[in-house]
Amino acid sequence: MKFAFFPGCVSRGACPELYTSTIKISEILGIELDEKALESASCTGAGVLQEKNQLLGDTLNARNIALAEKQNLPILTICSTCQGVMSQAEYRLEDEEYRAQINETLAEEGLKYTGKTPTRHILWIIVEEIGEKKFKALVKRQLEGLRLAPFYGCYLVRPSKALKFYEKTERETCLEDLTEWVGATVVDFPGKTACCGFPIVTINEKASLKMVGNHTSTAKDLGAAAMVTPCPLCHLNLDQYQDRAAWMMKREIDLPIIHVPQLVGLALGLDPEELKINKHVISTKKLLSEISLQP
Amino acid sequence: MYEHDILIVGAGLAGLRAALESIEAGKNTAILSKVHPVRSHSCAAQGGINAALTDRGDDWEDHALSTIKGSDYLADQEAVEIMCREAGENLIELEHMGVIFSRDEEGRLGTRRFGGQTVARTFFVGAITGSAMLHVLYEQTVKQNAQVYEEWFVTKLIIEDGECRGVIAMDIHSGKLEIIKAKSVILATGGAGRIFEPSTNALICTGDGLALAYNAGASLMDMEMIQYHPTGLAGNGILLSEGARGEGAYLLNSNGERFMEDYAPEYLELASRDVVSRAEQIEINEGRGIDGCVLLDCRHLGKAKIEERLGYLQEVATEFRGIDLAEQPIPVKPTMHYIMGGIKTDFMGKTDVPGLFAAGECANVSVHGGNRLGANSLLDTIVFGRRSARAAIEHSSQVNSISKNIDELNNETKRIQNIINRSNGERSATLRNEMGEAMTSGIGVFRDTRSIELAKQKVLSLIDRYENTSIDNKGKIFNTDLIFNLELKYMLDVALTMCVGAENRKESRGAHYRTDITERDDKNWLKHTHVVKIDGEVQFYTSDVNITKWAPEIRKY
C-alpha cells in the first residue's frame, strides 16, 4: 500500500508528535508513505478559507489531489479536518460542470483532477484496508485495562453523505473498533462526535472552553483514563486548553489526550518515547504507568 | 386581556390574511390557533395559486368560467367573479410581501398549467407554494406584532341574543379554560379530512370550526361535496401535487395506457379532479389497476425539471416510498383531500349567525361548488380571508362588547371535567377509525343510497357511543388525549351533515356521484343543500344557486 502523505499544517507545527508517530507505525503496518509527492501541496483551508471563498478552497484541494494523481498515488491524511475538507471537495467535484471549471485553472499548472482514488484518513485505511485480522496479528502489546474515550472530530463524521457513510458503514464506528482491536475498553460518552471548540477558540474562547470542559469531564467521570482522537486540531484544543477549561469549571479533569497513531504505536510494541507521547500538555505519565509502560 | 374587536380562529392562510387586514385597519385583533401558525395545514398545499393577470392579456372571466364549469355549475357565480376579478391584485400583494414565486426569463411572475384551466395561470413556488405563502404571511404578522393565542383550543362559541360574542377556549399548555370576548369572530379552521381514512389531510384537520358553527345554529352547505384528489400516495394518503400533471406527468393504468384519453380527450390528466378520480376508480374497479392504484409517471420530465419544480414530490417519493420519480412511476389512488362544502357564507364571509364569519376551506361562499379546481383554494383563502376581515371590522364597529358570563365558563369547565373524569370507556381512536372506514366506503368517489345509509347509521351509532368514551390522561398540562376526544365529537357532528347532504341530493353533480342516480338534474337540483341544527333537531333545506352570466352546460373535458 503506497500513499502520497498529506501531513496537514498542524502535524508540522503544534503537534509534531503526530507526524513522528505516523511515520513509525506506517513502517510496521506496511504502509509506504511518499513524503515528497505532496511537497507542493497547500493547506486544505480547514473550512476557514472556504468561508471566505468556496471556489478557491475547492480549487486548492483539487490541486492537492491532482498532484497525487500525477504520481498515481492516493492520498493518506492524518487529520480529521484535512480529511473532511477534502472529502467535501471530492463530493462537490462529482458535478461534471464544476469539475471542468476547476480543471481549467489546474491545467495552467499542467494538472488535472479526476477523483479516481478518494483520499482517506489513516484510521480508515487501518479499518478498511488492513482489517481486523491482519491488524490483530501485528499487535505485540495488548492494552488491556486501558479505558479509552473516542473523540472523532466533526469533520470525520459529518456530513455523512460526503464521507460516504452509507457505503462505508465501518467509518461510523472505526475509532471504537480500533480501540477494541488493541485490547482496550471503549468508554462511550455522548460527546464522542461533538465539537471540540477549536474553530472558535480565538473568536469565542469561553464557548470553546465549555466544549472542551464538557466533553473531557464527562468522559473522565464515566471512567476514561484517556481520550483518543484522529484530529490534531481537536488534540490541540482538548489538550492545550484543558487546564483552562478545568479552571473555568472549577474542577479537576486531567484527562490525557492521545493521537490515533500513538495508540496504534503502543499496541504495535513501540516505546512511548519513540511516539513522543511525553510531548503533551496534559501529562500521560499516570496513563502509561496504569498500562505498565514506563513513560 | 381576552377581549378583542376581531378574534380569528385558525392561523392558516385565510386566518393570517384576515388578521393582517384587521391589524392594518387598526383593530384590536387576535389570532387563536390550536397549533403554531406555521404548522397549519395550508403548509401542505403544493401546486400553486391561480390568478388571471389582466395586464398580461389574461382574462379573469375565462378563469371564472373554468371555475364555474369545474364546479359543475354549483358555484355561486357572483362569488366566483369576485374571486377571479380580485385574484390579480391579491397575487401582487403576496409578491410584495415577499413570496418567492417562480419567474420567467424576464423576471416576471412565471406560471404552470393546472387542472381545469384553459391557459397556464397558476403561480407557484417549486412544489411548496402553500408553505412558502404561509411562512410569508406569518412573517408579516411578526412584523405587525400580532397577538397570537398559540396552542389554544376553542370548545364553544359564545352566542348571546343570537349573536356571536366570542369563544370559550382552552390554553393547551395549562389546561385552563377562558372566555375570550370578541365583537366579531372569524372561523378559518380549515377542512375535516380526518373524518375519512385515508386522507391527504393532517391529523389536525378535524372540522372544528364547522362543528362549532353548526352547533351555534349556522348552516353547513353542500356537505356532500367531498373532493378525492387523484394522486394521493397509497397507504398513508400523502399528497402528490397536481403540479406534477401540470408539468406534464401522465397517469397510466396497468396496461401502461394513458387512460384519461378515454375520459377527458381534451384536458386529459388536467381535467377537473372529480373527473380524474372517477376515471382512476373505474380503471381500478375494472381490473386495470395495480394493487388498487394507478401510476403517476414523471420520468419523461427529466431529473432537472423534477428537482427544480417538483422538489417536494421527489422528497416524498424517495423518503416514503423509496422511488426516484425520474426513474420509476409511482402508485397513486384517489384520496380524500378537500371539502367544497362548509359553513355557508355570503360574499363577504358572513355566516347565518351575526358576528360570526368564516373564510377558507371551512367556509362555503360558494366558489368551488361541486368540485374545486386545483390552485383555486389558495386563492380562495387569500381573497375571502381579506373580505371576511373587512366584514368583521364593519360589524365590530356596530356592536358593543359583552359582559363576562361566568356561568357559561363554569358550565363549560364542568362539561370538560366530566369528559376527563369518565373511565373504562371506549378509546377515541377506536371510534375515529370506524368512522374513517365507514365514511370512505359510504361517501367515496362513488356512492349510492345504500352506502350513504350505512355510513349515516354508523355515524349515528358512533355519536351515541361517544358519550361513553374515556381518556387516559387526567392531567391538565398539554392534554392531547382530551383534545383528540373533543375533536372526535366535532368530526362526528360534521360527518353526520355530510351524510344528510349526500342522502338528500338526488342527482350526481361534481364530486357527488351516485351510481343509482347518475345524471345531473339542473331542473330540480341546481341548488345548494343545507344542513342546520334547530332546537337540537337536524334539518335539511335547499337554496338557489346564484347565476349571473353562465348558463349551466354539459361538462366535458
Partner: protein, 322 residues
C-alpha cells in the same frame, strides 16, 4: 383497521410531566407491534391511540412539511414522520427524547419560545426599498430558485436541537434563525442587506458558529443552515464588516495560505488577535508557555509549500471571484 403486526419493537421514551414529581424526567418503555413500513411517528401514534393516551407529542401533517414532529431518536434530532423505524432500531430497540437545547413542556412536546424569539430577532420579513411597483418586483428566476432551498425550512427545530454551540452559549441565534436571515440577505428585493449584516456581526451572531456541521447533518429538508451562515460570513467580509475576530481569523488564514501555502499557528494567532492587542496576547501567554514546555510550540518560521508561486497564481485568479 386492524393490522396484524409483523414484529414487536421496544420503544423507550424520555417523559416528563410537570404535574408529577415536580416534572422530574423518567424513561418509560413501551412494546409496540409494528409493520415493516412504520415510521417512528406511526409507532408513537399507535402508542398514543391504543396503549397510553397520556403521551404528549406534537404531530400534524405526517408528510414532512409542517415541522411539528422533530424529536431526538437515539440521540440525534430527526423528523419522526419521515424516519423509518427499520432504519433506526438497533436490536429492536429505539430511544426517543424531546429535542435538545429547549425546555420541555410535557414528554416530547418542547417549549419552542426560545426558538421563536430568536426567529423574531432577525427581523424575518422582507424590507423592500424604494418605490413599490404596480406589478410585481422583477427578480431573476435563478435567485428565486436559490431561495427555495432555504425556504424549504419548515422551522422544525432539529438543527437548533443538536447545535453544539447552543449547548454552551444560549444567546447564539442558532442555525434556523441565521438561515432565515440568509433568506432575506439573498433576496434581491430586500433593501436592507447591509443593516442585516451589521446586526449579525454582533455577539450571538454569525461568528459564534463552530462549523461542526450538526445542523447540516440533521436537517430533514436539505436547508444546509451552516452553509448559509458561511455565505453570510462571506458577504459580511465582502462588505467590509470585518472588524471582529472571526473575520480577522478567516482573513489571516487565507493570507497565510496565500503567502506560504501552509498555515503557521503562531502567526495565525498573532494576526487574528492583532500584533498590538496586548491584552489578548497576554491572555494566551499561559497556553503558549504550556505548549513551549511540552515541546509543542510551532516554529516561528515554519514549513512552507514547495511551489508557492503556483498557489499564489490560483489566489490571484480566484480571490475576488465567488
Amino acid at each position: 383497521m386492524v393490522q396484524t403486526a409483523k414484529k414487536t419493537i421496544q420503544i423507550e421514551i424520555k417523559r416528563q410531566d410537570p404535574e408529577i414529581n415536580n416534572g422530574e424526567s423518567y424513561n418509560q418503555v413501551y412494546y409496540v407491534g409494528v409493520e415493516d413500513w412504520f415510521t417512528v411517528l406511526d409507532a408513537l401514534i399507535k402508542i398514543r391511540e391504543e396503549i397510553d393516551g397520556t403521551l404528549s407529542l406534537r404531530c400534524a401533517c405526517r408528510a414532512s412539511i409542517c415541522g411539528s414532529c422533530a424529536m431526538r431518536v437515539n440521540g440525534q434530532a430527526k423528523l419522526v414522520c419521515k424516519t423509518k423505524l427499520s432504519v433506526v432500531e438497533k436490536n429492536n430497540k429505539v430511544l426517543i427524547e424531546p429535542v435538545g437545547n429547549m425546555p420541555v413542556i410535557s414528554d416530547l412536546a418542547s417549549d419552542f419560545k426560545p426558538f421563536w424569539d430568536k426567529f423574531n430577532a432577525v427581523d424575518p420579513y422582507i424590507k423592500p426599498e424604494g418605490e413599490v411597483p404596480d406589478g410585481e418586483y422583477l427578480a431573476p428566476n435563478d435567485d428565486m430558485v436559490h431561495l427555495v432551498g432555504v425556504m424549504n425550512c419548515i422551522m422544525c427545530g432539529a438543527c437548533v436541537s443538536d447545535c453544539t454551540v447552543l449547548e454552551v452559549k444560549d444567546n447564539f441565534l442558532g442555525p434556523a434563525a441565521l438561515a432565515k436571515s440568509y433568506r432575506f440577505i439573498a433576496d434581491p428585493r430586500d433593501g436592507s442587506q447591509f443593516e442585516r449584516l451589521q446586526d449579525l456581526e454582533k455577539d450571538g451572531g454569525i461568528w459564534d458558529c463552530t462549523r461542526c456541521m450538526q445542523c447540516i447533518e440533521v436537517c430533514p429538508k436539505g436547508v444546509n443552515p451552516m452553509e448559509r451562515i458561511m455565505s453570510i460570513r462571506s458577504k459580511s467580509m465582502e462588505n467590509k464588516i470585518d472588524n471582529n475576530y472571526g473575520a480577522r481569523h478567516a482573513k489571516s488564514f487565507t493570507d497565510l495560505i496565500k503567502s506560504n501555502g501552509i498555515v503557521n499557528e503562531v502567526l495565525l494567532l498573532l494576526k487574528t488577535k492583532g500584533l498590538f492587542n496586548i491584552i489578548e496576547l497576554i491572555k494566551i501567554l499561559p497556553i503558549a508557555i504550556g505548549a513551549q514546555l511540552a515541546g509543542k510550540r510551532p516554529p516561528f518560521f515554519s514549513h512552507s509549500s514547495k511551489n508557492k508561486d503556483e498557489i499564489k497564481k490560483i489566489f490571484k485568479k480566484l480571490e475576488d471571484k465567488e
